[in-house]
Amino acid sequence: MYAIVVGGGKVGLNLTRELLDKGHEVTLIESRRDRYLKMEEELGHVVQYGDATELWVLERAGIQRAGLVVAVTGDDEDNILICQVARDKYLVESFIARVNNPRNRPYFDLLGIRPAVSATDLILRLIEHEVPEYGLVHLLDLPGESLEVIEIQVTEGAPAVGQKVSEIDLPEGSLVISVLRGGGGFVPKADTVIESGDEVLVCLDPGLEDQVTPQFATA
């Protein structure tokens, strides 16, 4: 696959190296001359100099035949514009945008720029994962695929405690895919009994969260 990566900071540069390692054809576009010259020593013609929000720069990089555009500059407006133009003007099939300021995420959503990845959000999720009092953690959201994975801390007295997985009153479109207990995790069987203190991973259709959570966690 041919991928265009925009923004040669730490993220863009390492991403480019990884994609090259995996055998993909990659062009990295960087608008700062000093950064460009430094990266050119390592990557040669893979790096191009220019402002990728200018259409001719994207065209020079061959965006018409790109299967993936990754916009990881340090500027959210630039990332939005690059993905929008890639999608709407050049009909690029896949794109990924970086969100630098999580407060700008609603704008990415508004303009349909998905997936949009924010390092702050990812770290926040890991913190939530490490700090159980949050109760419920979103591990994965794939709105395009209509799929979510959440992690729930099972509390004492919850309806699911002492019940077999098959007996828990879960709505259609949800499934317990993993149980974390005593430092280890396993995939439950129909007759696995849920204990208080377990953490369960549940795969579900978006919107079912409010029906699923009460089975495992009492408010």
Binding site: T53, E54, D75, K89, P106, Y107
Partner: protein
Amino acid sequence: MAFILIVGCGRTGSAVARRMLAAGHEVSVLDDDPLSHDRLDSDQETSWEDAGGRFTIGKAIERDALVEAGIEQADVFVASTNGDNTNLTISQIAQKMFEVPRVIARVMDPARAEWYESQGLETVCPTRYAIDVFEQELSSLGSGS
């Protein structure tokens, strides 16, 4: 009388703001640089606020700043910061999130201006004007052949 929100108080934004206020419209200006306010006051007998203008300090992309500057009441939204991509992004926010009836974006790059114009966004491209005027001025040279 219309309520006009102008984002970006540079040479263009401030001049448009002053003219629109003089024309009797309600005008609110948003810029993240407090010093940009001076452009609204210079050579004027009364201060911008005394003349009835509004000025808000804040980042163009920030929702709270846009709301404080009155985007929810705006009839017209003018994006004239010095960044094309900022102007194009906030214009779409004004259109789609706040449903401002009329939105105009300044875009210096003719190619981007043309593309977004074709996507239904009203754009003003000063570069294109300059190129046209230069071409006209130089037309007296005649053809080189």
